[in-house]
């Protein structure tokens, strides 16, 4: 029997940006909040002096231990799924702060088009532009309504950037100016400007100057040390929950973060959540944490799995295309971030230096900023150059035609170690009726609960869009003066490698309970006191990095939860304007 703990106002599952923002806001408002984190307790000192590429980049130190739990994966709804067994093939952040600690820091607001993609596409191109198998839908909330939440998160996180010249209206600038630019970044900016595009600096969660956020937390200036993506920050100079929302929550005296707490179920009775059941991973003991409000703010895949395991909401059935939990799973996989790599014979770059979000980008081919009338796809993405700061193991880029080992490989990999740049397309991925999440019938975790099963394959428009972006990237790389330009090949098939951490959907936001699981406050339609927060709410994936949108929906949810704690009930009126096609 589980030990029943004293009831709290709010229990939050997960401590990344989603759980951290919700915890900070509600504990500031005076509510008692307990956050449960499956991973270890970590502080900044865990990340000081451990600049070790093998351990973090190649052995995935900050990623979920898969020995107890992973996912299974398949392409088609009639196949047997196999487990994704290694951390090379499946990365999901863990430990206090979650995936929001190892992120690169690339910050983009999603576009007005993204929030109303179905309506706006039909408005401009007509109904037939959206293929029958594509299940994209409007968010039920507009960019204009989301804007204040973006602004709040950017200020909490201390984002350093400049506005997108082709972006939607902003109420304010980023709180900090863009980071310093390296010669490679300048080369991209100057070249694309000459080509008539509208380049701007990637907004960064790596601080261009020391900054104190509205909650009084100090973030330090980034040192460009290069140990950034897949690392915790040595200097407290990355916008992450460990230096912002988690200490803010702790200062209130109303917050407790419990680590080593592996949540197994959301407990519920008579249509209301009563708390969560979790296991202390250090002792094996089971606990029940009762609460007035339960917030699932774990990773996308965990949010989905917990709802399915807890039997909350109707699971999506692809055969009838009914049900909502697991519906519209969407992600950026091996068809995105493709482009062109240029090799320079007479030019070397200090590419061992850098920061996760040191870069430049342009939105000329993003969203609906360009005419799609004669194109066989909708939406688009940013074109980006990034200077992460490359490690020695990672930097083995060689021109096409070079063998992958032996004498010639050695010569070229060393010759070009500091002589290559890449430009890529961060393209959007749309949702399809056949891509969804469910529980696996065979494989289980260490406690014998079913693993989550992913069913995913590419839609018809994915390849043409990738090829479009690759071609634009090639043109830019050639104009940048590279002597050799190698382009990527757009894949036909999903490779079942989950290494970008951009996985979303399954508990999606919307205006209609028939096609969405949560309302625009991230409140479950089926359970008033359960909020599901994070990228699990995205109905489809925009052509830009997701983190700012996770932060923005978390502020939106926090407002909703506070509202619910005061007044109770559903926060949003149901609208029955189902836009999903019936299979009949």
């Amino acid at each position: 029997m589980a030990v029943k703990l004293p009831k709290v106002d709010v229990v939050v599952v997960g401590t990344g940006w989603a759980g951290g923002v919700v915890s900070a806001e509600l504990s500031k408002a005076g509510y008692k909040v307990v956050a449960l984190e499956r991973g270890k307790n970590v502080t900044r000192s865990d990340y000081i002096g451990v600049k070790d590429e093998l351990r973090y980049t190649n052995r995935y130190e900050m990623m979920q231990d898969l020995s107890s739990e992973t996912i299974t994966s398949r392409s088609n709804i009639d196949e047997v799924a196999l487990p994704v067994r290694t951390r090379k093939e499946f990365m999901a952040g863990t430990d206090l702060g979650g995936g929001s600690v190892h992120w690169a820091g690339a910050t983009y607001r999603w576009r007005a088009y993204d929030f109303e993609i179905r309506s706006k596409t039909i408005e401009r191109y007509g109904k037939n532009k959206i293929p029958d198998d594509m299940s994209i839908q409007d968010w039920g909330i507009t960019y204009e309504e989301m804007e204040p939440y973006y602004d709040r998160w950017e200020k909490t996180a201390g984002i350093s950037g400049e506005p997108d010249p082709l972006g939607d209206p902003r109420s304010d600038d980023y709180p900090n100016p863009p980071m310093k630019a390296s010669p490679a970044i300048n080369l991209f900016m100057e070249t694309t400007k000459k080509m008539g595009y509208h380049p701007y600096r990637v907004a960064a969660g790596n601080l261009s100057q020391t900054y104190v956020n509205p909650d009084g937390e100090q973030l330090n200036q980034c040192m460009f040390c290069s140990f950034c993506t897949q690392y915790g920050c040595d200097f407290g100079a990355k916008s992450d929950p460990l230096v912002t929302v988690l200490p803010t929550a702790e200062k209130t005296g109303n917050f407790e973060a419990r680590t080593g707490a592996y949540v197994r179920r959301v407990l519920h009775k008579d249509g209301k959540a009563t708390g969560v059941l979790y296991v202390d991973t250090m002792t094996g003991e089971e606990f029940e944490q009762p609460a007035d409000v339960v917030v699932l703010a774990a990773f996308t895949l965990t949010n989905n799995r917990l709802l399915l395991l807890s039997k909350i909401g109707q699971p999506y059935d692809p055969k009838t295309r009914t049900g909502v939990i697991g519906r519209n799973f969407n992600a950026q996989f091996n068809n995105t971030f493709l482009g062109a790599r240029g090799y320079f014979k007479d030019k070397k770059f200090n590419y061992y230096m850098g920061a996760g979000a040191l870069g430049a980008t342009l939105s000329d081919f993003a969203g609906d900023n360009f005419d799609h009338t004669d194109l066989d796809f909708i939406n688009g993405g940013g074109i980006e150059i990034r200077q992460y700061g490359d490690g020695a193991i990672a930097t083995n880029h060689v021109p096409d035609g070079t063998p992958s080992w032996g004498k010639e490989f050695k010569e070229n990999s060393i010759r070009y170690a500091n002589r290559s740049l890449v430009v890529w397309y961060t393209m959007a991925t749309m949702s399809y009726w056949h891509n969804y999440l469910s529980l696996d019938p065979t494989y289980t975790d260490s406690l014998n609960d079913p693993l989550l099963r992913v069913t995913y394959k590419y839609g018809k428009q994915d390849k043409p869009m990738a090829e479009f972006g690759i071609e634009k990237s090639r043109e830019i790389m050639e104009a940048m003066g590279a002597d050799i330009v190698d382009v990527d090949e757009a894949p036909d098939e999903f490779d079942h490698v989950y290494d970008g951490m951009h996985y979303a959907g399954g508990v999606i936001i919307g205006a209609d309970p028939a096609t969405s699981a949560v309302n625009t406050y991230l409140q479950m339609w089926d359970m008033d006191n359960l909020f599901v927060v994070g990228a699990s709410a995205f109905p489809q994936f925009a052509g830009h990095h997701p983190t700012a949108t996770v932060g923005a929906v978390a502020y939106r949810a926090a407002e909703g939860i506070e509202n619910y704690l005061k007044n109770g009930g559903q926060l949003v009126q149901v609208k029955n304007e189902s836009n999903i096609k019936s299979i009949s």
């Binding site: 290694t86 090379k88 290069s226 091996n334 080992w405």
Partner: protein, 279 residues
């Protein structure tokens, strides 16, 4: 500091540095490590046999011994194979001189070799030929495009019941078996070109292995070799940071804030994790 990595007379100096580091560790074990500087000269005088050992090209001092691979024959195959993947040439040392075989041995002895953090619950796919090769290399270019590695694979990749340690032992012995079948000679006694031919058969899946695709083993060998060339020397490879010197990689540094805007390429004498943490 000037970059001396291209100086052929540097070898002696490097060995000496390795020795100093090892001596430091010995001293640390005895007196608690706080007297690092003062003790070194004494250690050198008292242990000349260690200095001799460290002068040998393949030695990393007292830290180079097999702790996972039992059979010397297996280790010899590993050494020869890694040297073909990353051969010594005019640019600098190859895998053996960089300590890569010992690096791999140490990796296999630990958590990674044991697949301790991987999902190893069954059922496993037992008919590997039906499932096709898996675990193809996606490693070569993680931060950007390389169309050669974007091979569509219809199922998740690592599906063997063997952990990496077991996979290496089986694979190394298979290399020798193929060498003997094809050339009637042990792998280590083949010419470099013949060794390449044998390795290429694994790379191209022309060899049948039990429970795993031959190319899976080959890509594992390839990626682990490159890790050994370029990982921090604390793991036993990249000896004396010679891998980093070849690539003009400076190792972990506190800050590039003052130089990030520099137009010219900056070569720095590399520093290791030991030096970074020892500030």
């Amino acid at each position: 500091m000037a970059d001396k990595s291209t100086d052929p007379n540097e070898k002696q100096g490097m060995s000496r540095r390795t020795f100093l580091k090892n001596s430091g560790l010995v001293a640390g074990g005895v007196v608690g490590g706080s007297l690092f500087g003062g003790l070194i000269t004494n250690q050198i005088k008292k242990q000349p046999e260690v200095e001799e050992l460290s002068d040998a090209k393949i030695s990393g001092g007292l830290q180079e011994a097999r702790i996972f691979i039992n059979r010397a024959e297996d280790f010899a195959i590993l050494s020869a194979a890694t040297e073909r993947i990353f051969p010594a040439d005019d640019l600098g040392p190859g895998a053996i001189e960089l300590g890569v075989p010992y690096f791999i041995d140490k990796q296999l002895a630990g958590e990674w070799g044991n697949n301790a953090k991987e999902y190893m619950k069954g059922p496993f796919i037992t008919n590997i030929q039906a499932a096709g090769a898996h675990n193809e290399s996606g490693e070569q270019d993680k931060q950007g495009p390389n169309s050669a590695t974007q091979v569509p694979v219809p199922t998740p990749r690592y599906q063997t019941i063997m952990n990496r340690g077991e996979l290496f032992i089986v694979g190394l012995r298979k290399i020798d078996e193929v060498a003997q079948e094809k050339y009637d000679t042990r792998f280590v006694d083949l010419s470099p070109e013949e060794q390449d031919d044998v390795l290429r058969m694994f790379e191209e899946d022309e060899v049948e292995m039990k429970s795993v695709g031959a190319s899976n083993f080959f890509y594992l060998l390839l990626s682990t070799t490159l890790e050994g060339v370029y990982a921090d020397p604390v793991y036993g490879g990249n000896k004396n940071m010679m891998g980093w010197k070849m690539k003009e990689y400076p190792g972990p540094r506190m800050s590039y804030l003052d130089v990030i805007e520099e137009e010219d390429f900056i070569v720095m004498e590399p520093e290791s994790l030991r030096q970074y943490q020892g500030h």
